[in-house]
């Protein structure tokens, strides 16, 4: 049953990823990525990583993808038009990607084929995870919280609409500044 579960959800994940490539509209790509993430969460549960599985659903598929879908709807993203691709890219690119994948898969299959992974023989519980996170990895944890704060401030600053006009054209500003009253300067 474990093997069946693995193959069902692995197929689902690969199908979602291929659908992401095939679809032209960004909203379809975002929703197929949600399908990939759901399938991966089941695989994490098979590997005994329960906390990671639920964080995958809550944070990744819940929060981050909602942000993506929100931006897609905010910008009214249309299906992308096909770019004028060169023929060299089609001739070389696809075989190169397949060769990379075959290289990866061949190495992994020969290297790790005799190392079975069984469900339930090692469960990384949330308690163990918390103990490791707040003892051994306390400094990285705090550093990531600072990183998060910087990211939050940066996102707000970048996406905020600028009210003041850009400080371009210094000559025009200097010529017109003689006519502006102090009250106008305060408003500006």
């Amino acid at each position: 049953m474990q093997v069946a579960l693995f193959f069902i959800f692995a197929t689902l994940a690969v199908a979602g990823a291929v659908n992401l490539l095939v679809q032209r509209a960004p909203i379809n790509a975002a929703l197929s990525l949600v399908a990939v993430m759901g399938a991966l969460a089941v695989l994490y549960l098979l590997l005994g990583a329960e906390f990671i599985a639920f964080v995958q659903i809550l944070v990744y598929a819940g929060a981050i993808m909602v942000l993506f879908v929100f931006v897609i709807m905010l910008l009214n993203a249309q299906p992308d038009e096909a770019s004028h691709r060169s023929r060299v890219a089609r001739i070389i690119g696809v075989p190169a990607l397949v060769a990379l994948l075959v290289e990866f898969a061949g190495f992994l299959a020969t290297q790790f084929s005799d190392s079975p992974v069984r469900m339930g023989e090692y469960i990384s519980s949330t308690e163990d995870l918390g103990m490791a996170l707040f003892h051994q990895y306390l400094l990285p944890f705090e550093v990531t919280s600072v990183l998060f704060l910087v990211g939050l401030i940066g996102a707000v600053l970048l996406a905020a609409r600028r009210e003041d006009p850009p400080a371009a054209m210094p000559t025009a500003v200097s010529s017109s500044s003689a006519k502006t009253t102090p009250a106008e300067l305060v408003i500006r």
Binding site: V3, F68, Q78, S83, F104, L129, T144
Partner: protein, 100 residues
């Protein structure tokens, strides 16, 4: 039961599809989504190795990857909104100037 290599090969497939999407897509949001797909592929191999080696460190690393992905998504989407406001396009082929 399931060899570790199956998980790693699935992870490699997802990563390669993410690379392909990153390269062939012209829409900047879809390019960003492809990056998330690559991160997910790498996360799967981290969890698989964590299970195989009986070490909690892989799970911790996945946790940090998720944090960085969340920060990256917030900042990146803010940049996309700012660029769209100035250039009114999402096509990466048309975003070819550093100057406005």
């Amino acid at each position: 039961m399931i060899p570790l290599s199956y998980y790693l090969i699935l992870s490699a497939i997802l990563f390669c599809l993410g690379v392909a999407g990153f390269i062939i897509k012209t829409d900047v949001i879809t390019v960003f989504i492809s990056i998330e797909l690559m991160l997910n592929g790498v996360n799967l191999s981290f969890v698989a190795f964590s299970h195989f080696l009986r070490d909690i460190g892989g799970n911790i690393f996945v946790f940090f990857v998720m944090v960085v992905a969340a920060a990256e998504a917030a900042v990146g989407l803010a940049i996309i909104i700012a660029v769209y406001r100035n250039r009114t396009t999402l096509n990466v082929d048309k975003m070819n100037l550093l100057k406005l």
